[in-house]
C-alpha cells in the first residue's frame, strides 16, 4: 500500500497552490493520498520554531510525513522564492525525515517568469535534506489555468515519475533509536574511530 502526502503552502482560500497539489496528488493514483494545508498549522509551526517541539496538533502531521512513501510539496512564489511558511515548515521537519524519500516539487505564481524558483531555490533545499527530488517540477502560473499550456501533460509526467519512483523503492522503514539503541561499547569504540570533520 502506497501513501502519498501532499503539502500545500498556499495561503488564499481557494488557493491555486492547493489546486495544483490536488491535481498532482490525484494523478499519482496512490492507495492513500492526503493533502495538508500549512495555513491551518501556521501558528503551530511558529510555536515549534520558538519552543523547539511539535505540539499535539503538529505531531501527527510530522509523523505521517515521515511515514509517507512519497511527498508532493507545492509552494506559492513570494518575493522571488518559496514562501516563508513553506520554509518554516521545512525547518521544523526532522532533518532525516526526508532522507531517501521521493519528492515531487511544484510552485505557483502570478507569472511564469518565476518558474525557475523551483530549480534554483526549492530543489537545492530538498537535495540538502537528501530527498530524492524527481526530475520534473511543475510550475503553474495564473495563465496556465486558462490557456492550453500543457499543464495537464506536465502534471501527468511529474506524477508518473513520482509513482514509478515510489513503486520501485522498498516501503519506508525507520530505525527507532529508542527501540534499538546503539550499545554503549559501540559508542565508546566510535570515538577512537571518528575523524574531526565527519
Amino acid at each position: 500500500m502506497t501513501t502519498i502526502m501532499a503539502i500545500s503552502a498556499g495561503l488564499s482560500q481557494p488557493s491555486s497552490t492547493r489546486m495544483l497539489a490536488d491535481r498532482l496528488a490525484a494523478e499519482v493514483k496512490a492507495d492513500h493520498t492526503e493533502t495538508v494545508e500549512l495555513r491551518e498549522y501556521a501558528h503551530d509551526i511558529t510555536d515549534h520554531l520558538l519552543t523547539r517541539f511539535a505540539n499535539a496538533r503538529l505531531r501527527p502531521v510530522l509523523r505521517r510525513l515521515a511515514d509517507a512513501d512519497g511527498l508532493i510539496l507545492v509552494t506559492p512564489v513570494f518575493t522571488a522564492s518559496f514562501s516563508g511558511l513553506f520554509k518554516s515548515f521545512l525547518d521544523i521537519v526532522e532533518p532525516d525525515a526526508l532522507q531517501g524519500k521521493p519528492v515531487l516539487i511544484g510552485a505557483t505564481g502570478g507569472t511564469e517568469r518565476h518558474s525557475l524558483v523551483l530549480e534554483h531555490a526549492l530543489r537545492p533545499v530538498l537535495t540538502y535534506l537528501r530527498a530524492v527530488v524527481l526530475p520534473t517540477a511543475v510550475y503553474a502560473a495564473s495563465a496556465d489555468w486558462g490557456n492550453d499550456t500543457d499543464l495537464s501533460r506536465r502534471i501527468a509526467r511529474a506524477a508518473g515519475e513520482l509513482a514509478a519512483e515510489v513503486a520501485r523503492r522498498p516501503a519506508v522503514g525507520r530505525v527507532d533509536p529508542f527501540a534499538d539503541p546503539v550499545p554503549f561499547t559501540d559508542l565508546l569504540a566510535d570515538i577512537s574511530g571518528r575523524t574531526d570533520h565527519d
Binding site: T51, R52, F53, N55, R59, F178, I191, S192, R194
Partner: protein, 362 residues
Amino acid sequence: MQFGVFTVGDVTPDPTTGRAPSEHERITAMVAIALKAEEIGLDVFATGEHHNPPFVPSSPTTLLGHIGARTEKLILSTATTLITTNDPVKIAEDYAMLQHLTSGRVDLMLGRGNTAPVYPWFGQDIRQGIPLAIENYALLHRLWREDVVDWEGRFRTPLQGFTSTPRPLDGVPPFVWHGSIRSPEIAEQAAYYGDGFFHNHIFWPAEHTKRMVSLYRQRFEHYGHGSADQAIVGLGGQIFMRANSQDAIAEFRPYFDNAPVYGGGPSLEDFSADTPLTVGSPQQVIDRTLGFRDYVGDYQRQLFLVDHAGLPLKTVLEQLDLLGEHVLPVLRKEIEARTPAHVPSAPTHDSLRAAREEVTAG
C-alpha cells in the same frame, strides 16, 4: 523521593516593571532561594552552568560551596555540569573538594550544553558533543575510583601516573545523574554505568519524556544494575501557585508571555497542556506532580523550576513557602504510600558509603 529546585541563573528583566536585577542581585537571590529551600524542607538545590550572558552561574562549585557553608542538610547539585567543555580532571577535583567541605552533601548532573559558541570558547566542537560526553565521563569515572590513572583519549592531553586530589570523601564518588532532553545515547550512557538519569521534562511533551525514561530503564536492567523499575530517575517540573488558581494564572501570564524560552509562542494554556508547566492552586500542583509517575514510573527526584523569566525574589520566596506548606507534605505522604518497597530511594553519600562498607565487609 527527593524534592528540590533547579535554577538556570538567568538575568531577565521583570516584564511587569521592566527592571532587570544586577548580576550581583541575581547571584545573591540564588543563594537566598537555596537557603529558603533548606528552610522549607526541600532536599536538593541545583544550579545551572553557563558561560554567556544573560546567565550568571559560570562557577557552580563556588556558589555551591558558599551555600554549603550556610546550610546543614541541603544536597547541592547541578543542572547541568558541562561534561563536554569542562576538563574532566577539573570536575573530578572541584566536586571532590566540595564533597569534603559539605560532608558529602553533593551530587551532580552532567549535560552537554546546547550553546554552540561555548564549545569553541573552550576549545571544543559542538558536533562532537556526544563523543565528548562519553569520553570525558569515562575519564571522570576512573579519576574518582582509581588512585593512579594512566589515560589517553581523543579530546584531552594524556595523563601518566595522575592522582586527582582530594580523593572522594570516604572513597565514595559523588553520585552522578546524566541529563539529556532528546539523545538516546545519554540514556544509554547512564544505564551502562548504573548512574541516574534526569529528564528536564519541562520543555517537551510527556510522550517524549516517557520514551527517554523507558529506554534508560530497559538498558539499566540490561546492564545488570537491577530491574527496570529500580533505575534512578529524576524529572524537572515548572510551577507557579497562588491559593486561587485564577490569581496564579493572572500573575504568571506576563512572565510566561515574555519568557526567554517560549515567549511570543504558544499560549500559557496550550503550553500547560503540552508540557508539565502547572500554574494554579497548590492542589493542582499536587495532582499534576502525582501524575508524572503514570508515565515514567516510580522515580527518585523531582526538581522544580521556580525562579526564571524575571520573577522577583520576593515572589519566588512566596512560591517556596507555598510549596513547603501546602504541597511538599502531601506529595511526600502520597508518594511514599504509592511506592513499592523494592524501589530504591535516590542514592546519597550516606547510602553509597553504607553500600560500599557492605561490599568491603563481605
